[in-house]
Symmetry: D2
Subunit: 376 residues, 4 copies
């Protein structure tokens, strides 16, 4: 394994792997991805894989725009990654329902329907009885649902693996179980100290999810990131009980290939505790039963946790390091890392190549909470 | 492995292993245990291990008497099995609480307290405030509890393994993953057809839990047995949250070594479905939280099912086969197999040896539901 | 769930599920599949999924012909099942190498190459150096390999699940954890006793793999079937180490999606022992390393066993029961159940419908080892 | 949870938990253990649990002396921890054989036997035929073995858990999934920054195994520590195949409760790679089969890795921090952490209390490789 690369990416989650993929797809840059754990082992594999470009975002702005654009890349990406790596990312294009359990929720969702339509995005209000025709196992108590036909879903572990193996096939190197422990920033290029020795990159990207804040601090940048723990569970059924994703009251039910149903996710800020608590299991099952009573007959499969990387304003950090010209940052995608990964990968690759103006990403600037800026 | 034995036991669950152990402990009989699956893999390892001689039995009768006698064997047995096999059965002697959540339950439990005392068994009514002194994490809403100081608990998998390995050490043979498929009953001795060929026993014992009914049918005996499925879950805690077993409303919480808490068990008759259903998980967690709110902070460990072997009158079958003099039966211990295993093993060994009068076990006669007897 | 069906299939492995699928695809017959365990839990999920129509069969005859025809169904089937059930069966069409480690093996494989060509099937001898160009990680010691470009592979668990869920979607019923315990064969139709009560089928199919022999015996038919235990292991790699399946010396290496490598399989006849033995692990790893030294760096994933249903002459049983006109049999596919499943499903469906002459399946007649025939 | 403690221990492995236990046993100090992962999750639970005070140490010196003294604490400790926490540490006192496969090994082991005897330690040379009487399943090819009757074994996970839960019961606090990220060292006391906020200790102990080097570096101390990866596997048997631990050629076989056999361990320096490689599995099984052919019949259970914390001279670091009077260090126990844990815990507790002279631990001084000292 060489010690010198054109680009070194610190972080082998979905963001780091997507960047490696787009870099190798478009350039001959030598690329190394360094991951302290297993590739795709943290938030990237804990996610449920919803592509909730509309479902997760309720107001106009740069993230809403980015999300829709990133979502539009999946149909082609799905074919492309299958072709290169042989991996099926299980892209499912069956839309998403946000269900209303009472009048108050109905009114809010009807407003949201208008909002999406006003922004030129498809969204439709579905009455309770229509909803039962489309998803007959849902609760008869529901008042209806907002239907978002374009919000699909993928298998996030498969997507991360497909990015990684496609990048590898196209020539990227991967080094797992190796921690980026420190940086030596010279006039040109970046030295990265790791448990496997020193590596040198002409450029380097910090893409370590919630742990990127610590790395940034080592380079003198205050870039706040904090973990929001989420617990998920999965059930299996002999036959699928729903066809589209259903969201209600912060609880989502995502039907996966082969009769699996992923139910997520609790929210707890500020902790790195990996335990699935009984409280979380109870909360998820109780909420899920309200919209889909049939979950009672589902077979328990498993439960797990992950840590979403949250930023103060809810926008990810993407761009150049303010103080070190060869250092780049892509982190903080919170609940939307899977959805945003293709476009993040593409933008960061273009930025590294020099084909994208930094200005284009100004709302996502990594230094927007830097002390100097805050003062200034 | 020989083909001829003094005693062949069909069934390597806790009952079969206990019989093998007591046989080898007291005689030089050659003994073979045949198990179609893994040793101790069914109800024996699904149980929570309560020794609820009083908690599970609310009326005087042969089972109440047997249960207490069997319970009294555990302290000595625990030492004995550790000595022979090196296995710790995790016998815990900290008593059991049956908690009352309301006045009605309180009155019923106070009556039960009197019942046990009237029968010369220790039982004590504990008020809500006293209870919180003894188990401070229990719900403050409880009206109190009946305390049964003698109802301890063990680790049922360890107990089954300890019976098996002690028996093996004393000379018994074990053949796992081998099904007893049919019987050839001669004038003397029993031929047992298995997937590993034919074995001959001077005597044979059917001890296959809920599957014994089918074997009995093959020998012409109608001996009804049906499965009662139970789902259990376990949580873990950095520090134990209760010291004694707590039962409330058909839900029991059994504190195990090292901070594990086993919560059981749902009841569903007539099915062999091994699936843990979401409904069962919800029910167990909901009931457990009512008595012990601290379970919310417990870490999810796992969930499993087992099939209790139920009989029409709730008493196990123990004794000789009515039509074949060399055939014996021990099965149908329902929720009390762990508790009753030592005495069942001892009695069956003595019956096989000829030291116990069949009359002694008349309430447990295997033919008490035989068609002929029923006709009368 | 109804009690009366047009066709009841006893056995929810790959054969039973394939029959159910083709029945529902082509008819309006009501269909019930009864499975004593979990759907697809035995040999169907233990297999490696090679479609070795040529690799596994070295002589002309009905099986060779059937295998090639069945293999040819996979490309279309793969699309069809994905469309109906959403499940990707991971069909990979990259051919298969049978490698020669020495001159003797080389000569034998060169003869086999001629045999396949003589039978109009593609096969090519690849020299050692050419082989390394196609699969660079293979051992430099190999003398070459026979290349079979048409022998692909699938994921057998996914295929079974896809058959089952597609059948279910098309209207078939499934009942798992329910054992077919006995038959009541009337003048018309079949009664099947199960742990969930009695079910009646106008016709019934026995498709329970190696356990079908026992069911057949209950219907008066001697149809010998015996288990051949196989142990398999799997390793994972960051990047795939081979592209095509490689076979050498009874050991096969099957590269799966995402960097998994399945290595199989030991052979042990006559046992139902589910244990993976250290001996098997050693044998598989040692043999695999001889052809592919790079397996040393593979990450251990897991090990498992399965029981191939073997018949005395190596041909499966497919056809009508000799004594009961409404009873059908499909079992005994040995190492080729995955490969043969589509055509078995199709043929059996056609036979049940009445579109296939029994004569067509005469080499596979279920009664070819019946005592009468043997005498006769 | 308070923010201020008398002693804060960074590291919840066996060393940290042992220190917490002895501190609470002997003082009223408030104690907090901070662990970045799960309690006892790293080397502490990966170890096989041999107490090889003689087997692992072949020369006189401070470690040899310490090891014997620590070993002598186990019989009493075993009872004490069971009493307090209810946890059985599975202490087995059946000695250990170091087996010779050829003449050269025999001569070396006979010399070692003399060495131990010369140092007043029991050791005996056992001929091949005698050895087979004591352990009949061992290979008939062995030339004999050195028998060390005092080198017992424990279950390391249980021991760590027992230290932790006993400490907790005696009043220590534990905070898991919390990383000690930095230190603020004032004139008196230590501030520890963690992901759960700042904690203040009058004194603090660094006891984070191989990760202690990095923490020490943050406090200005060069204290080299590097990981030596080890892979282990376990098999299970219906009946135990050996009674005592057997070591041969760097491979050890440790018989655990209930028929488990742990086989360890490979050695690979300088990596944090957690993967169990096929190479390691092959090596362990091959070596183990040479001494104990019966392992072939063992059932595969699982495989795992751990990282032993190695120091340049093989001695652990125990003592005070050279530059900060309230900071203490206990780490680097390499292959002997389980064995040395009781005495390390006791000594460190005494040092913290002020009952042990620093001089007593001078060979283990944490600053013996500090740059200043090295310069001289």
């Amino acid at each position: 394994m060489p010690r010198h690369y054109d680009v070194i990416i610190a972080g082998g989650g979905i963001i780091g792997c997507a960047i490696a993929y787009y870099l190798r797809k478009h350039t001959e840059y030598t690329v190394l991805v360094i991951e302290k754990n297993r590739i795709g082992s943290e938030a990237s594999s804990a996610a449920a894989g919803m592509l909730g470009a509309q479902a997760e975002l309720n107001e106009a702005g740069p993230l809403y725009t980015m999300a829709r654009e990133s979502r539009s890349l999946f149909p082609e990406l799905s074919r492309e990654l299958k072709e290169i790596s042989g991996i099926d990312i299980e892209f499912i294009d069956k839309g998403l329902f946000k269900a209303a359990k009472n009048k108050k929720e109905r009114l809010r969702l009807q407003q949201l329907t208008d909002f999406h339509n006003d922004n030129g995005q498809p969204a439709e209000w579905i009455s309770g009885s229509e909803l039962l025709k489309m998803e007959p196992m849902l609760s008869k108590e529901l008042e209806g649902a907002m239907y978002l036909p374009k919000d699909g879903q993928v298998n996030p572990s498969q997507l991360t693996k497909a990015f990684a193996q496609s990048a590898a096939k196209l020539g990227a190197d991967f080094l797992d179980y190796t921690e980026a422990a420190g940086f030596e920033i010279g006039r040109s290029g970046i030295g990265i100290q790791t448990s496997a020795g020193m590596f040198f990159g002409e450029k380097a990207v910090l893409a370590s999810g919630v742990w990127t804040g610590k790395l940034a601090a080592q380079t003198g940048l205050h870039m706040p990131l904090f973990p929001v723990k989420g617990e998920c569970i999965s059930l299996t059924f002999l036959e699928p009980v729903i066809t589209s994703t259903v969201i209600s009251d912060e609880c989502y039910l995502v039907p996966k290939q082969g009769g699996r149903l992923v139910i997520g996710a609790t929210m707890e800020a500020g902790t790195y505790d990996r335990k699935v608590r009984a409280k979380g299991v109870l909360e998820l099952l109780t909420k899920a039963r309200e919209v889909l009573p049939a979950i009672e007959q589902g077979e328990w499969e498993k439960a797990w946790t992950g840590f979403r990387p949250q930023t103060p304003d809810g926008l990810p950090y993407m761009g150049k390091h303010p103080y070190h010209k060869d250092l780049y940052i892509a982190a903080g995608h919170f609940r939307n890392g899977i959805l945003l990964s293709p476009l993040t990968g593409r933008w960061m690759a273009e930025l590294l190549i020099g084909n994208l103006q930094e200005e284009r990403l100004k709302e996502f600037a990594p230094d927007r909470f830097a002390y100097e800026k805050m003062k200034g």
